[in-house]
C-alpha cells in the first residue's frame, strides 16, 4: 500500500508541480504576481473533490465510459489552453517585443494559467482523492496509504520547487527555450494520455504497438512512473498514442513560432503607454 500510494501520488503531484513551476517562471518573467497559483490550486482542489465525489455518476455517462471520456476531454482542454498560452506568451514576449500592451496581455495570460492549473489539479487531484478514499476506510491500510501519499507529495512538490528555482537561475536566453521544451513535453503527454483514455473507452480503435520497452523500464517501476510524469513515458505505446504525443509537442512549438510572427500593433503599444504601464 505504501509504495502504491507513493507512486500514484508522486506521479500526479510531479505532473502538476512541473506545470506550475514552468508557469510560475513565465509569470515571473512577464511580471505577473504569483498569487494566481493560490487561486488556481484552491479552485482545482475544489474541482477535484467535486469530480471525485461524483465519479460514480460521471462513470455512467456515455455508456459507462464517462470517466475516460471526461478525463480525455480535460486533457485535450489542457493541451488547447497550453497552445493558447504559448501563443499569447510568444506574441507578448517582453524580451523581444517591449512595446506590448502589458496589462491586457498579462490579464489574458494569467487567466490562461489559472484555468490550466485548475484543470490539471482537478484531474490529478480527483485520482488521488478516489484512491485515498478507497483505501482509507480499511484501518490497516490507512497508515501506509497516508505515509506513502505524504512521501509522494513531498517528493513531487520538492522537485517542482527545485525545478522552479533552477529555471530562475538560468539565463534569460535559455530559460524560454527550456521552459518551452518542458511545456511542449507536457502538451505531448496530455495528447498521448487523452488518446489512450479514448482508446480504453472504445471511442478510438486500437492501433498497432510500436515498441515494447517494459523489460528495460517497466511502467510500474519508480523510474517508469517518474518518466511518465515528466515525459509521458509509455512502455508499449500505440501508433495513435505516439502520433498524438508528437502532435501535442508540435502544436505547442507551432503556436510559439506563430506568435513570434505576429506583430503587436503600434496602437496597442500607445494604449499601454497611456495607461501608465
Amino acid at each position: 500500500m505504501f509504495l502504491n500510494s507513493v507512486v500514484l501520488v508522486l506521479q500526479e503531484a510531479l505532473e502538476a508541480a512541473l506545470l506550475i513551476s514552468v508557469l510560475l517562471v513565465f509569470s515571473k518573467h512577464y511580471q505577473i504576481k504569483p498569487r494566481w497559483v493560490l487561486v488556481s490550486i484552491g479552485l482545482g482542489s475544489m474541482g477535484a473533490l467535486i469530480f471525485a465525489l461524483n465519479m460514480a455518476l460521471v462513470s455512467e455517462w456515455f455508456d459507462y465510459v464517462g470517466q475516460e471520456v471526461i478525463n480525455a476531454l480535460i486533457q485535450f482542454s489542457i493541451l488547447f489552453l497550453l497552445g493558447l498560452l504559448v501563443l499569447s506568451l510568444s506574441i507578448n514576449n517582453p524580451f523581444i517585443k517591449p512595446n506590448t500592451n502589458v496589462i491586457k496581455s498579462n490579464l489574458w495570460i494569467m487567466v490562461c494559467m489559472i484555468l490550466l492549473v485548475c484543470l490539471a489539479i482537478t484531474r490529478e487531484g480527483s485520482e488521488i482523492f478516489i484512491y485515498i478514499g478507497g483505501v482509507i476506510n480499511q484501518p490497516s491500510y490507512a497508515q501506509p496509504t497516508l505515509a506513502g501519499s505524504g512521501i509522494g507529495a513531498g517528493i513531487g512538490i520538492s522537485a517542482g520547487v527545485l525545478i522552479y528555482y533552477g529555471l530562475l537561475g538560468v539565463t534569460r536566453n535559455k530559460v524560454t527555450a527550456i521552459s518551452l521544451s518542458l511545456l511542449s513535453l507536457v502538451g505531448g503527454n496530455m495528447a498521448s494520455q487523452a488518446v489512450l483514455l479514448l482508446t480504453q473507452a472504445d471511442w478510438l480503435p486500437y492501433s498497432q504497438i510500436l515498441w515494447d520497452s517494459s523489460a528495460q523500464i517497466p511502467e510500474n517501476s519508480v523510474i517508469g512512473h517518474l518518466l511518465y510524469a515528466l515525459i509521458g513515458y509509455e512502455a508499449t505505446p500505440s501508433l495513435f498514442q505516439f502520433s498524438a504525443y508528437l502532435g501535442g509537442i508540435s502544436l505547442i512549438l507551432i503556436f510559439w513560432l506563430l506568435g513570434k510572427l505576429i506583430d503587436v500593433p503600434s496602437t496597442m503599444a500607445l494604449d499601454a503607454e497611456n495607461t501608465g504601464y
Binding site: 500500500m1 505504501f2 497508515q143 517528493i155 520547487v161 527545485l162
Partner: protein, 441 residues
Amino acid sequence: MRSTRVFLIVAILATLTLFNFLAALQGYNSSLNEAEKLFDNQLLDTTKLISSLHPSQHKNSLTHLNDMAYQIWHHNKLLGASSNVQKEPITALHPGFGYANFNGYRWRTLVYFDELQDRWIITAERTDLRFSLAENVIIKAVLPILLGIPLIGFLIWFIVSQGLKPLRDLSDQLKNKQVNDLSPIELPDPQKELEHVIYSINSLIKRLGEALEREKRFTADAAHELRTPISALKIQLHNLKNDPTSGEETFLQLQSGVERMQHLVEQLLSLYRSTPSEFSNNFTPINLYQLAQEVIAEQHLSFEQKHQSLELTGTESLINGDLFSLQTLMQNLLSNANKYTPNNGTIKVSVSNLSQQLDDTPKVYLKIEDSGIGIDPTDYHKIYERFQRLNKKDVAATPGCGLGLTIVRHIVELHGGSIHISPSSFPSGTTFTVLFDGLNK
C-alpha cells in the same frame, strides 16, 4: 522582489525533503528485501522443526494454522498436513523457495527434502500477511522522517531568520536614516561577512559627508570671493558718479577689478573642468618641454615687468596627457612663482626624463623653483585646499583667489602623477616638483 529568506527556507526545505524522502523510499525497499530474507529463514526453520517432529505431534500443534500451511509427503503419500490445504501437493516437489496460489491467497512456499527420513516437507506462508507485517514495521521507521518535515521546516525558518537578522538590522538602520543623518552605521557584534559591507557603507557615508561639507564651504567661499570684487566695483562706480573728474584713476581701478573677477571666474571654471566627473579625457602624447617653452613665451611679459630672471632647462620629455589641462597646470605654477617672487628674483624651470629606477615605466618631471617668499613647511598640507590663502602679509597683498594649486593638484591626479613641495635651493623660496609617467620614445 525576491526574498532571500523565503528562497533559503523553501529551497533548503525542498532539498532536504526530496533527499530525505528518496532515502526513505530506498530504505523502505531495502528493509522490505531484508524482511523477505528474514521471513524465508524463519520459514526454513519452521520447516526443519516440522520435519523433526513425530507425525503424532503435528496434529496437536500445527493442524489449525491459518496464516501458514504444510504438507509432509513420502513416496507420493501424504503423511500429514495442516487443515487449510487440499490433498494435492501445494507446489511441485522441487527443493527451494517459490510461490503458489490457493485458498484465495498467494503463498510463499518452501519445499524441503528430509534425506534421513526420506520425506518431502512443503511449508507455505501467506505473502500478504508477511508483506503487511514487514510494511508495518518499516512504516514505523519511515513515519518520523515524514512527520519530522514540519519540525525541520520550523528549524530552518528559525535558523535562516537568525542568520539573516544582522542583514535585516542593517537594512532597517539604513531605511530609518534621516535625509541629513550622516552618522556611521553601528551594528553590535556584526558577522564577519557583514563587517566589510558595514565598513564600505560607513566609508561611503564619511566620504559623502566630507564631500557635502566641502561643497558647502566651496559655495560659501565662492560667493564670498565674488562678492569682494563686486563690492569694490560698486564703490568705484559710486566714486565715478560723485566725482566725474577722477575718471582716469577710477577707470584703471575698475579695469583691475573686472580683470580680478574675470580671473576668479576662469579659475572657477578650470576647477570645475578639472574635477574627475567633468574631465573630458582627451589624452595625446605631449612634449612637456616644448609646452613649457610655449607657456613661458606667453607669460614672459609678467616676468619682465618684475625684472625676474627665468631659466628653462631640460630635454624633450613625452607624456600622455590633456593639452589644455597641462597648459593650465603650468600657467598656474608659473603665475604663482611670478606673483610670490619679488622683483629681480630668479625662477628656474626644468623638464626632464628621470632615469628608470624602480620599474619599467619611465618618469618625467617638471620642476619650478623660485627665490620667492617661500612657504612654511607646517603649511604645506593646507596649500592645495580651495580658497586657501596663507596668512602672510606678502600673500594677502598679492592678488589671487586661492584656487590655483587646487586646480594643479586635480590635473596632476587626473594624469596619474604626483606633486611634491619643498624649499628651494635659494636662500628662500619654494620648489614644486610634478612627476608624470613618461612615454617610451
